[in-house]
Symmetry: C2
Subunit: 342 residues, 2 copies
Amino acid sequence: MREAVTLSDVAREAGVSPSTVSRVINGTARVDASKRDAVLKAIKRLNYQPNIMAQGLAQGRSLTVGVITQEISSPYYGEMLRGVEQALEGTPYHPIFASGHWRADQEEAALKVLVGRQVDALVVMDSSVPEERLLELVKKMPVVVMGRQIEGLSCLSIDNAQGAYEGTRHLIELGHRRIAHIAGPHSHPDAIERLKGYQAALQDAGLPFDPALVVEGDYLEPSGVLAVESLLARGALFTAIFAANDQMAYGANVALYRRGIRVPHDVSLVGFDDLLSSSYFSPPLTSVRQPSQEMGWEAARWVLAMLEGKSYTPRPLSTRLIVRESTSLLRLPSSRLRLQMS
Amino acid sequence: MREAVTLSDVAREAGVSPSTVSRVINGTARVDASKRDAVLKAIKRLNYQPNIMAQGLAQGRSLTVGVITQEISSPYYGEMLRGVEQALEGTPYHPIFASGHWRADQEEAALKVLVGRQVDALVVMDSSVPEERLLELVKKMPVVVMGRQIEGLSCLSIDNAQGAYEGTRHLIELGHRRIAHIAGPHSHPDAIERLKGYQAALQDAGLPFDPALVVEGDYLEPSGVLAVESLLARGALFTAIFAANDQMAYGANVALYRRGIRVPHDVSLVGFDDLLSSSYFSPPLTSVRQPSQEMGWEAARWVLAMLEGKSYTPRPLSTRLIVRESTSLLRLPSSRLRLQMS
DNA sequence: GCTCCTCTTGACAGCGCTTTCAAAATCTGC
DNA sequence: GCAGATTTTGAAAGCGCTGTCAAGAGGAGC
């Protein structure tokens, strides 16, 4: 089916040796102008494209950067991958993705696939892969880890606690006293950090931390719905919700909508991540922006630098509260959800 | 950095020849049980993993399926890619993605990258790549094209016109007479089909087609905002909007929200695609469902079958109108948008 | 005109794996 | 126990490319 034209074909066509063709392609050495021209013409004429696998074998590298995400279809990873893609554009490298689906065993499998495919470097996003495994990998190739901090590894992450702190404080400043939190899975470090930030904000404002106002979700929309339903079912009183990510905030919003609870009139809602679509939400969602695309970009640049043996200092990545229309001043008294003075 | 263990290492360790090792790995021929055991043990002991690039070179295949999307970070493609990923799971093949960003030149570049990387097969999603180019590619490898129908190619697509027809008819049945349409880019076949379906529904209902109610967008949220703004700016009268995809519907929704126009109270809104997030929209979006993930799955299965020389008949893929809460019976008279009797 | 240098070029040996091909080993049947 | 058929095995030739090495072609200097 494939009758590829090879480097030798080009050599024959141009009347030179294969080595010469290789040289003009890679610019590895001077080549007489006339021969160079002949080669270039032959390449064009035959529509020659180097076989990357052969190049890779010969040079011991695949020109591929492996990227482990948790879920390729998630908008959050989508943005990061876009960043990676952009950073690699114009370089000879190309990304190759594999998903861990938030499960340690699947992450390990994904890792195996990528390593088996001879990736030259690795970007690992939000993994729950054991540290030792990563430390072992880093001996073999450049690795950048996102979403957690590990001693001895190149890590790229935002300050999740700080972001959560700001999101929560924003609600407090609007007068809210009973703020519910929809947390991420406790198995993930970033979820823990966000919970901590939420608690810290409460504490700094002299507000009590009420465990009954915290529900654990799994970062997906349906869990946001469930979280609100369970809060409501057990009669929890709250005038605001801080969700550990936008997707759960979306779910929360719809659950509130179904109960006739209006956002932000009755309940204010803050998310985390600031997905592209959050500004098109109705009401547009107030959210803690995480520069996802930029993070993907930085991670990719970083591994590229490592591949070239250069050093690289990633730009500091910080969260920023984006205030939109899903939050408003506490209205007193709310007809449905009475404010419990603390 | 990488000191890989090779097949010959295994052979030496097991006391057999490289050929034998290859045979037990690929099961290409009978091997004496005792030697097989020795080899397997050696593989385990050395933690050997075959070098895919070398395998590929030797066998003339890369075990890679190239996938051209338009935008990897888009939720729509995300779902399709998830389908592709799932279909390839458990097979030796792995997907590799490249994005065309809805631009013919970038699509061509993406195609070049994938072909250069020796993909064994290609899934091309919603491309505007010229037919001839695709017909040329199909001579070299299995290709499945999604989102358009081309004679002589394996195409997988839903009936866009039919879907659009149903979405529009739903609005008509709710009493709407002046229905605006936010179209997709006219360069893309599916966008054209959707426009046609919209027109057909109007016609069948005896409603006039008013070009002033059609605005072209680019399938992204901001263009939905712009579309509504431009409709409003030129004083167009409408009580419903049919958007050619959900993302533009999101944009339309926010633009309406800003003007104080309520969905569905003042204007009903229908999207197309039924993204995962659309059911969490507020109001939950009525949309023409396109089984994106399943489409990705079918496409991948199809190319796999072709790679194995088998024939494959993809399951019929059809759209289905999902009625949610962004559409409602026409209310007369609307305070802001008076109904123009036709 | 000859030697010595520098620059350009082609031959050739891999990269790690598969796959013929033929030799070695084993098994038949008489 | 031996010829012949049948397995099982290893040697060796690639797959398409890179990179070393040494030979060939020019130039410079005397």
